[in-house]
Amino acid sequence: MSEDAMTKSAELSYAMRTGALGRRLRLGWYYLIANPNLLIGMVLLLVLVAFSLGGQIFWDTRLAYPLSAPVAQPPMPGHPFGTDTAGRDLLAVMILGTVLTMKVGLIAGAIGVAIGTLLAFAAGFYGGWVDRIVRTVVDIVLTVPGLLVLIILASTLQGIISSTSMALVIAALAWREPTRQIRSQVLVMREAEYVKMARMSGSRGWQIILFDMIPNLLPYLGATLVAAVAGAVLASVGLEALGLGPRQEPTLGMTVYWMMTESAFVRGLWWWIIEPLIVLIILFVGMYLVSIGLDEFANPRLRKRT
């Protein structure tokens, strides 16, 4: 990143805290133009959010369940996205599926970042034996392929799992990367002058964490959250595609699962194939772009050196 952009981002974060609303919006817009990854990613995600929220208002989402429409019809008036072999209206499925899939990702990602933040501060701020234990445990669990452990968890719960309980299952492993990433930030920040200052002026540990460190970490926590949500969505869609998801709920991954199980390829049901793929691609690319865009915002120094 150039010097210029770095001062800009410092100026921006100051103005965002102090400026009037109109000025804040204008500065935010300038920043977005300078950070196209963030802009394009946000646009993609907003399109999906608008689609799923607008769809819930203007379309009957009860049609997303079996036997509510004629079977395996291509797009036609009344069912603009076509229907699947169980008689689900695919427009309703896409609307509800986007909501449910995002919900799973948000719950699991938020829990993961919350646990990760707690562990990271316990380890990075206080240090000592807590740090040694947390670091060793994180190093070990990070080597285990997460999806496979989740397969064991989810297959034990097979049949009784809902989208919410699946989010909890995924959260069981979603704290690993956030803990490691936030801990390394805490280690750096612990040595910052203002933290030393607060310590010298007699603030307690929790006061420093809450009032001095967390506010300064917020952009970084945001970037970590987006990455964690993306990871959780990845895991949930993967589990669902293997048939370990909530069978009663029309999530995007379950749609991929039903599409493959009912051999949509052999039967030539092209609309059933491309619709979940397009929604998932927009979702994954959007989350990816937002997460690298936020990374640039949170840590300008890490930006591309070429």
Binding site: D139, I140, L142, T143, V144, P145, G146, L147, L148, V149, I151, I152, L153, S155, T156, L157, Q158, I160, L234, V237, G238, A241, L242, G243, L244, V256, M260, F265, V266, G268, W270, I273, I274, L277, L280, I281, F284, V285, M287, Y288, L289, R305, T306
Partner: protein, 330 residues
């Protein structure tokens, strides 16, 4: 040889393997109802004509001895694992889980190994070219494209490729590891058939992981270009190709091996789904069929097997690192 770090890594390897095995042992016992017993009871109630289920029940009782104290059960279980005894498939009794795994293993290793190596080499060269000062402009546009592809899970790109190349244009088969009527043998037509079937799955892994390697390599290459030996090589009149490959890539590539070790778990998990999408007859397909049939011994066996293999691969790469690159410390 630095023995202390090696011993540490060996201990960590065993901790991972025993922890994974313990999760496999404990989880079914914590669940509201024991799925394994339920499944066996269900088979028993449906009548024993179904492939001698009473034999399975007897084997299950003997092996897990549910009347014995839990610690005894646990040690019996670990003892079984140490001898690669993973029990029997419930659906295909009396087929052993270990045999099912051994049959599928070559397919998975072939697919994952070749596609990972190709992606690794291709990504490293592309990443190095992006950082290299006077490389073609097209590469500077190619790499960001691969980066966006890297946001997608392997199997999702796999589905897109099936849709395009097998469904619309019909150049490649829809699924499977070889044609339905092919006779497995070592002649050319069979090998060509297998390659034809494995191209799309391999390509979906390669295309979605090239970006990750390219990004890491770009960073390394930028650092390497600033080193004194690069200036020295140029001053000595060494040509650009040799400077790029022998001085730049060679030095920047070695740390990538550490990154590769970190990614193996991710690749293994992704490959399981790729196999399911392509109906490829490896461990992922065995796992998927076991999930469909609630065949718990097979699920647990396959998952445990992959976790152990990943742990072993990472262990080996950690040991190899300092051998290949003297700058790396264990």
């Amino acid at each position: 040889m630095p023995w202390v770090p090696i011993v540490k890594r060996v201990i960590m390897l065993f901790v991972v393997i025993i922890a994974a095995a313990s999760i496999n042992f404990v989880l079914p016992k914590l669940a509201p109802k024991n799925p394994v017993e339920d499944k066996i009871m269900e088979h028993a109630e449906n009548g024993a004509q179904m492939n001698d289920i009473s034999g399975l029940v007897a084997a299950y009782n003997e092996k897990f001895g549910l009347d014995k104290p839990i610690m005894v059960q646990y040690f019996n279980y670990l003892e079984g694992l140490a001898t690669f005894d993973l029990g029997y498939s419930i659906t295909f009794y009396p087929t052993k889980v270990s045999d099912m795994i051994l049959n599928a293993l070559p397919w998975t290793i072939g697919l994952v190994f070749t596609s990972t190596i190709i992606a690794f080499l291709l990504g490293s060269v592309l990443g190095a070219l992006v950082a290299w000062r006077n490389s073609a402009r097209i590469i500077k546009y190619l790499v960001p494209g691969f980066m966006v592809l890297a946001a997608l899970p392997y199997y999702l790109l796999g589905l897109v490729m099936i849709y395009l190349f097998a469904f619309i244009w019909r150049i490649f088969p829809l699924s499977g590891g070889y044609s339905m009527f092919a006779i497995p043998s070592m002649d050319w037509s069979y090998i060509a058939d297998v390659l034809h079937h494995s191209l799309l799955p391999a390509l979906s892994i390669v295309l979605t992981s090239v970006g990750t390697w390219a990004l890491a390599m770009r960073g390394m290459m930028v650092t390497v270009q600033g080193e004194d030996y690069m200036v020295y090589a140029e001053a000595n009149g060494i040509g650009p190709v040799r400077r790029f490959l022998g001085y730049g890539v060679r030095n920047a590539m070695l740390p990538q091996i550490t990154t590769l070790a970190l990614h193996i778990g991710h690749i293994a998990g992704g490959a399981v789904l790729v196999e399911r999408v392509f109906g490829y007859p490896g461990l992922g397909m065995v796992l998927f069929q076991a999930i469909e049939g609630a065949d718990y011994f097979v699920i647990y066996g396959v998952v445990l097997m992959i976790i152990v293999m990943v742990a072993l691969a990472m262990f080996l790469m950690d040991l190899l690192g300092p051998v290949i690159d003297p700058r790396v410390k264990l």
